[in-house]
Subunit: 338 residues, 2 copies
């Protein structure tokens, strides 16, 4: 039974600092009818990702922001419930950036069919989706880790970071992860196979903790957070180190971004800091996803999901969990039975 | 006639902020006798370079600093006046990092003979020395400019920057230079062949000036200064841009280095920022110097020198000229007749 109306989360205002409830509006809208070449998806899982903060802001970015009044952008996994599209049939499971709503129309652009036999369909938002591919290309293509090197990862228990350390280990590197609670640090070393973990919130001296865990210096740093952690890592770079700039979640809600004061360590260490966006690797998503799926099926990758059960209207609250670092693994909102 | 004593500039204290006269001590010392395998050099030209500020500081760097009480480090060109070294004869002209003094002993390590027939011997401190090689390897190896791309250079009228723009032009790029006076900006476009110049001190809006002179964005930025200029350039990067981090003269005398607040533009633009030190290219100095000498002899490179005539005791004063940006071209102190 497809209802006549559904709920959408629309951007009501551009947040300053952390997003608040009244930056969003819950709108009851008619469920649309798919036109020719379109299909209708019932949303089952909604993805919460750090990039979303950028989409709420009109600061210069790699894509335009969500317009005030529009449905908030977000990746989803759902089921095709009506279709006038030759490539998508009713019953197909799809992943796509279809936004914060209970039903979504798609022309198929940017959407892909998911094979439920391969892995739980929610993994299409995590290890077999954008976070997995970000970890894969960011570490392997930009970071260029060599066996025996030390790879440091921030937000290491998150959707991306949890995979970066594991892929580093698969490539013969040492992996050291930073996370914000003792439980997460234990998760890194006990479940994900990180060689060492640092609680960056309680470490009395982050520089000393990095020195102790990375005595030969840091060869690759996969940065998801920016801020103090980036500055501390900069002082411990090995010669020729590569910093993969994937995100800066510590800065996304800041009124003024703070630049890394120790950036001249790049000069001292002849190191590089390179920004990466996963979409640039689009033409290699297929083989990369296949390799990730194989590692997953062989038990060589652990991909924990942090699934919150609720409804689309829980978006603002669950998003704040992400920025507060309350999740371990990929944060997903499940909206009812799948 | 070799005197019995000579003058040396010794570091007396680690400066805070700009170096002051009393951070140095002028010491009258005996002129040393070369032992076996050594030779004595009478200093003719002394080089003033931004890196010297770092050598006065005990902050972490790529080499240890000058010890308090030691002769200040510096490159010189001089004449061999006594020799017990088979490779260096009396009358040879040499270049080496022999320090701020009127006479210096050398074992030959780090010293090289200069051919006075090739070019004025002072060029061994500039276009045919460390600044020339820094421009050459920094631009070509790290910056990887492609014909048609836009290369932006800060401190563009300086010893390194003046060459970067010219080499960029030789490689078919557009070159845009930043300098701190209108006269320097004219020098960039009228003498060095830069396509455009910006006076970063008087431009009412640096972002707008960069946008006007680099309408397609900035592909390569050769950074000698850091600070506000780096931040402005970061907002105008073309996709895939390369920032060559060669120095940060705006920050060397700062009590607290300010990191680039716009560093997340590296992510937006999928750009890189890479530190470089010329010494890493040591095994390619020969062919690179030969290529620079050929361009110079063909009139394809302009290499202006800013020579101050005085004595070794003028070091602190002339060094401040460098940090105040009073020089155009390579700043050199000539200590008497050569």
């Amino acid at each position: 039974m497809i209802p006549a109306t559904h709920r959408q989360i629309r951007l009501a205002a551009r947040p300053t600092g952390y997003p608040r409830d009244d930056d969003f509006r819950i709108v009851e809208s008619p469920v649309p009818e798919p036109g020719s070449g379109e299909f209708l998806v019932r949303v089952v899982y909604l993805s919460l990702d750090p990039y979303m903060r950028g989409r709420m802001s009109d600061a210069r970015s790699y894509v335009p922001p969500v317009a005030v009044g529009d449905v908030m952008e977000g990746g989803i996994v759902g089921e095709v419930v009506r279709s006038n599209h030759p490539g998508f049939a009713v019953g197909d499971v799809v992943e796509g950036r279809l936004g914060w709503q209970e039903y979504a129309l798609s022309s198929g652009k940017g959407a892909r069919r998911i094979d439920p036999a391969l892995a739980p369909i929610s993994t299409a938002l995590g290890v077999l989706g954008m976070p997995g591919l970000t970890a894969y290309f960011g570490l392997l293509d930009v970071g260029q880790p060599k066996a025996g090197e030390t790879v440091v990862v921030s937000a290491a228990s998150g959707a991306v970071g949890g995979l970066v350390g594991q892929i580093a280990k698969l490539k013969g590197c040492r992996a050291v992860g930073l996370a914000g609670t003792d439980a997460k640090v234990r998760y890194l070393t006990e479940e994900l196979g990180y060689d060492a973990g640092i609680n960056y919130r309680t470490a009395p001296n982050l520089d000393a903790a990095l020195q102790a865990t990375c005595p030969g210096g840091i060869d690759v740093y996969f940065d998801n957070v920016g801020g103090d952690v980036l500055d501390a890592v900069l002082t411990r770079l090995a010669r020729g180190a590569r910093i993969v700039l994937c995100g800066a979640v510590s800065q996304y809600n800041a009124h003024q971004v703070r630049g890394p004061a120790n950036y001249l360590s790049l000069l001292v260490s002849r190191a590089s800091m390179t920004g990466m966006l996963v979409f640039d690797y689009h033409d290699r998503f297929g083989p990369a996803t296949a390799e990730l799926a194989q590692w997953l099926s062989e038990g060589r990758l652990v991909a924990r999901e942090h699934i919150v059960h609720g409804s689309v209207t829980d978006f603002p609250e669950v998003l704040l969990k992400l920025f507060a670092g309350e999740n371990t693994g990929k944060l997903i909102l499940a909206t009812g039975a799948s």
